[in-house]
């Protein structure tokens, strides 16, 4: 069990001693029980921090935003920025550092272990609450306890936790400056890649029918891209409106830019967009599941990313977010890489 006071004290000390310029964490949000990201710069605000089953966000995204903000203002990082990171968030931070997006000394990682209870999936919870709305959620051993108007409701964490938490291999943030909670790595609620393995039993035709239906629904809102800490490019290859335009850019230049795919939300473009994204995340995706959570039309994006993750793991022995100094998946090779498909 994580003592919330420890988390608040850690944050307060960092700010009071001038060891961090801000703390990124979670606080009570304005929408029911859900926590929201908090950006704390004064020691007295540290008491706003919370840690409960609704702390679902991958806060590594805001390190990227902070880095962009600094670059825009041509400011030096100065003091490190502190961040509350779950196991998956910490892996994301490692990948960002591996890619030299920021330096290790620019970040102070306050690791929080999920201790095998993970975080809640609101869609699953809605089924269990049967129409009631929870106003508060707390961890209690292997259960979550929700407060609703009908009183307290205790649910086993494994029944309402997010799929990615069920399949999580490492709920403990390995890379950290300070860490709260026990290391319960090794516990398995569901074998990793369970959903993927189930999906792969389908035939090629069935798989296509499935994806065709999913991609037909995509509205290209780019929420998956916006929420992903790995999608940090200012200029996105699949989105022509992100191409930079200055006062000097001529109409011809704009017209002649390569548009690999169109922005229209048609099936062919949607497929190419999601496949490109899956390729760009190969060996980088840490399976934080944010893309799937924010998708307004519920496209199971984790399947695509899981597929790449499993290939990297099983064929190339590559684990994303394992080491800061290591080579990237597509920037390295081994002699024994599979090659039997080549003629």
């Amino acid at each position: 069990m994580i003592n919330l006071q420890d988390l608040r004290d850690t944050a307060r000390d960092l700010l009071a001693k001038g060891e961090a310029r801000a703390v990124i964490g979670f606080r009570r949000g304005s929408r029911g029980m859900a926590a929201e990201p908090a950006f704390i710069t004064r020691p007295e605000e540290a008491d706003e921090l919370v840690w409960d089953p609704t702390c679902v966000h991958n806060l590594a995204l805001y390190l990227v935003e902070d880095r962009k903000f600094l670059a825009h203002n041509r400011a030096a990082p100065g003091l490190p920025i502190a961040i509350v990171a779950k196991g998956c968030d910490a892996r994301a931070i490692v990948v960002l550092m591996q890619e030299h997006y920021f330096k290790r000394e620019d970040v102070y990682i306050i690791g929080v272990s999920c201790e095998g209870t993970g975080v809640v999936d609101e869609r699953k919870l809605a089924v269990h609450l049967n129409g009631a709305v929870a106003s508060n959620a707390v961890f209690d051993g292997d259960d979550y306890v929700f407060t609703t108007v009908q009183g307290e409701k205790r649910l086993a964490a494994r029944d309402v936790m997010a799929d990615r938490c069920l399949e999580c291999r490492e709920p403990f943030p390995r890379e950290h400056n300070a860490v709260l909670g026990e290391n319960k790595t090794g516990r398995e609620l569901a074998a990793p890649f369970t959903a993927l393995a189930r999906f792969e039993t389908l035939s090629a035709t069935e798989r296509w029918t499935y994806w065709e239906r999913q991609f037909d629904r995509c509205i290209r809102c780019f929420a998956c891209r916006s929420v992903c800490p790995m999608c940090f490019c200012d200029e996105c290859v699949v989105d022509s409106i992100t191409f930079p335009v200055t006062a000097q850019t001529t109409a011809e230049e704009k017209a002649n830019r390569i548009r690999w795919i169109e922005r229209s939300a048609t099936r062919s473009e949607n497929i190419t967009y999601h496949m490109t994204r899956a390729m760009h995340l190969a060996g980088r995706c840490v399976d934080c599941g944010e893309c799937e959570r924010v998708c307004p039309v519920n496209i199971p994006l984790r399947l695509l990313n899981n597929k790449m993750e499993r290939e990297a793991r099983e064929r190339f022995g590559y684990e994303p977010g394992a080491s800061i100094g290591g080579a990237s998946l597509v920037g390295s090779f081994r002699d024994e890489d599979p090659g039997s498909f080549i003629r």
């Binding site: 069935e206 994806w211 290859v237 390729m279 064929r315 890489d337 599979p338 080549i342």
Partner: protein, 148 residues
């Protein structure tokens, strides 16, 4: 002639400048007969091929995509084809995962001396593609519409 017989698959072939591209030249100057379905695009190295090229080719109506480079150990840039092998493997797995026929995407090693092998690779590819018919899954254009 029935419609099935009239169908000729369109192949986009990404060929390494240092080997497969020269290999295709050799096939030509050696007067080896092989199907004219492949549109060659010369690249500096298979390692320089972005997955975006492959997806985009399918997106713009290719029925099959071939990536061909130097044999392992023969890369002009020492290790480009090793990197390509890994990347192309991922693209291939991803395409098959969403249900694209495995025969639509292929990789081969063809050296500058292997004109006959290049001809054979194209012959085999065309033979494998014909029964599959036009590629409509990733294509933005309808097959009856004008090509590219």
């Amino acid at each position: 002639m029935s419609e099935q017989e009239a169908y000729e698959p369109r192949i986009i072939a990404f060929l390494c400048k240092w080997c497969s591209s020269a290999g295709s030249d050799l096939a030509g100057v050696s007067r080896i007969q092989y199907p004219a379905n492949a549109t060659p695009i010369t690249v500096m190295c298979t390692g320089a091929i972005s997955p975006m090229y492959i997806l985009s080719a399918f997106n713009k109506g290719a029925d099959g995509v071939l990536v061909s480079g130097c044999h392992l150990g023969d890369c002009h840039y020492m290790e480009g084809n090793y990197l390509a092998r890994r990347k192309i493997h991922l693209v291939k797995e991803l395409l098959e995962f969403i249900g694209v026929e495995p025969n639509r995407f292929r990789m081969s090693w063809v050296s500058a001396a292997e004109g006959a092998k290049y001809a054979q690779v194209i012959k085999d590819f065309v033979a494998d593609l014909k029964p599959l018919g036009p590629q409509e899954k990733l294509s933005r254009t309808k097959p009856e519409a004008e090509h590219l």
